[in-house]
């Protein structure tokens, strides 16, 4: 039990359990549901990064889909190169995904430099512009990005060791959810580290953080970079799950859906990012099914497909803000009767016994008024 008190060990155990659940779950689902899970993994990766940026560091982003696009296109370009040169192997796709995450991290750091100078609506405006403008760049450089059609994302089939009947969709779900587990593991440890405390300090009180010796812009740029790496990985696995990287896959709707996911799940909570992603992904699927069942004309059905999920996310967002300001995770904590503060308080050691001789002559102040 003493070993489990170590944050790293506890998170490693959770990572192993998550991986086991992933293997069991994907084995029991149809190929179609595995395909949906692959999409969910991409949402979880990005929403987890976004909740760190917005919930823990207080910087809003309305353009995270653009960061996903950078990751997605980087992976697509690399995978095409590898495929053209007939380079194969189990390491190829992870290398592309890592490169996608790294390139997005660099791009996010550049955005972070600008973001560190901006606050509130100005920051929202800049990230919104990024979300609109960046996917549009693909139409400007069609020779590289193939315009609206986008790039295909070739990748090796599942390893032969998994069996001849191992479905590609299940393999995609493994890749995507595996990436999500790694992102959650990394961010959970980061949140509990000094860096996580710095993120929260800057969010809560920039002046106090500065006076403690923190460089506020540096912390904010770091938060953007970390969030960008997660979004880049999310974009990479999204492209792999769709087997394409196109501007339509990374549009503004996706950015807003991601923001909805982190608020609905509970801003600042990694578990909340998972709940929110599940809601957003599966609500979208349910609504699409609902529209298909209405028997509308193709044009009308397409319009509803495009707009109904956004309207539903918006409505859900308003409801959550009114009824559950802490999101789903906040509700679960309330139901469990465990406030995060109570968990922190448990097991804390009693005050130090030793007194500092030179200060002990001073009468200690009593507590103030409550």
């Amino acid at each position: 039990m003493a070993l489990l008190r170590s944050t790293l060990v506890r998170h490693l155990v959770l990572l192993a359990l998550g991986a086991l659940a992933l293997v069991l779950l994907t084995g029991s689902l149809s190929t179609f549901h595995n395909y949906e899970l692959a999409g969910l993994g991409a949402y979880v990766c990005t929403a987890a990064g976004l909740t760190v940026l917005t919930g823990l560091n207080g910087q809003i982003s309305l353009g995270h889909a653009a960061l996903m696009a950078i990751g997605g296109y980087t992976v697509a370009l690399l995978q095409i190169r590898f495929s053209d040169r007939a380079i194969t192997g189990l390491w190829v796709l992870p290398l592309s995904l890592l490169a996608g995450a790294a390139v997005t991290g660099v791009a996010a750091a550049v955005v972070g430099v600008a973001a560190a100078r901006l606050r509130g609506p100005y920051l929202a405006g800049v990230t919104l512009a990024l979300g609109v403008a960046l996917p549009a760049l693909t139409s400007r450089f069609t020779s590289v990005f193939k315009g609206d059609q986008g790039l295909s994302v070739p990748f090796d089939p599942p390893p032969a060791s998994l069996g001849a009947n191992f479905a590609v969709e299940r393999w995609q779900a493994w890749i995507s959810l595996g990436a999500a587990l790694i992102v959650l593991f990394f961010l959970a440890n980061l949140n509990r580290s000094a860096i996580g405390r710095h993120f929260r300090a800057v969010r809560d009180d920039e002046v106090a953080a500065q006076l403690s010796g923190l460089s506020v812009p540096r912390v904010q740029i770091l938060a953007f970079t970390v969030s960008g790496v997660a979004a880049g990985l999310g974009g990479g696995v999204f492209a792999v799950s769709l087997q394409t990287a196109s501007p339509g896959s990374f549009d503004l709707t996706l950015s807003l859906a991601l923001l909805s996911a982190v608020v609905i799940g509970g801003l600042g909570s990694l578990a909340g990012a998972v709940w929110g992603s599940i809601i957003v992904v599966y609500l979208g699927i349910v609504l699409r099914g609902f529209v298909d069942d209405l028997g509308l004309s193709a044009a009308s059905a397409q319009k509803l497909h495009d707009n109904l999920p956004n309207a539903a996310f918006g409505l859900l967002l308003v409801l959550v803000m009114l009824i559950l300001p802490g999101g789903i995770q906040g509700l679960l904590r309330r139901l469990a009767g465990v406030a995060p503060v109570d968990r922190l308080r448990r097991g804390r050691p009693e005050p130090f016994a030793a007194a500092i001789a030179q200060h002990s002559s001073s009468p200690p102040p009593s507590g103030g008024q409550q």
Partner: protein, 241 residues
């Protein structure tokens, strides 16, 4: 005595509105200097300029011979400047222990953690209520405890120069008196220079060695705390008693 802090011709303000005009200040180590004056006199602006939160338009700030002008806040913290702002600046979502640990952020390299742990242990000995609530979040503390925490975080940095803005604001008299008394103990034990902004003139002058009176952004009087308190004309004109 060699001065710890020397300020000459300091001018600062907010945008086009100048607040401080040609302020000179000298602080010796191991002294408490009270900054007195009416609301809007520029006391808080002076502290913000010295700690680096506000960029001066002119003047010189030397801390032990090192020019602070142009240095960001975090560099000044590393050089030994600690500022406890008005409103206290406690991070509500961090625990008492985590807030205190922030005070040791400037330390780098081997032994930094050990040194910060030792400084935190000292703070817990000074402020026993904080030791009992080390796992509580900042927003769960009372006003007095928050003031202790803000002061404690500054002390974890083991500063040479402590700037305190209204430490008794909103506190019960007994808590305010305890904190004021503690400042004297800290001054004697650590040898740091304290610049104290305090609305309660009596209690500020009671613990201070020196005092400066600020009016409309200018230093209009300075001297021994006892002399300022005894100067009836000054008290009537600037201190309101």
């Amino acid at each position: 005595m060699t001065e710890l802090l020397e300020v000459e011709g300091l001018c600062a303000g907010y945008g086009a509105a100048p607040v401080l005009h040609d302020v000179d200040l000298r602080l010796a180590p191991g002294t408490i200097t009270a900054v007195l004056g009416a609301n809007g006199a520029g006391k808080t602006t002076l502290l913000r300029t010295l700690s680096g939160l506000l960029r001066p338009s002119a003047g010189r700030i030397d801390l032990t011979g090192r020019d602070l002008i142009g240095l960001p806040v975090e560099r000044r913290v590393m050089l030994g400047v600690a500022h406890v702002p008005e409103g206290r600046g406690v991070i509500g979502e961090l625990t008492v222990q985590e807030n205190l640990r922030l005070g040791g952020l400037w330390r780098k390299g081997a032994g930094a953690r050990r040194e910060t742990d030792a400084a935190i242990a000292e703070v817990y000995d000074l402020f026993e209520p904080l030791a009992r609530r080390r796992g509580y979040h900042g927003h769960q503390l009372s006003g007095g405890e928050r003031q202790m925490l803000a002061l404690g975080r500054a002390l974890v940095a083991r500063p040479k120069f402590l700037l305190l803005d209204e430490p008794s604001l909103g506190l019960a008299p007994v808590v305010a008196a305890s904190i004021m008394a503690l400042l004297r103990t800290l001054r004697d034990a650590s040898g740091m220079a304290v610049l104290l902004v305090e609305q309660n003139v009596h209690s500020a002058l009671a613990i201070a060695d020196e005092g400066v009176v600020v009016s409309l952004g200018r230093v209009v009087a300075r001297g021994k705390a006892a002399d300022l308190q005894a100067d009836e004309g000054l008290r009537h004109a600037y201190l309101g008693f």
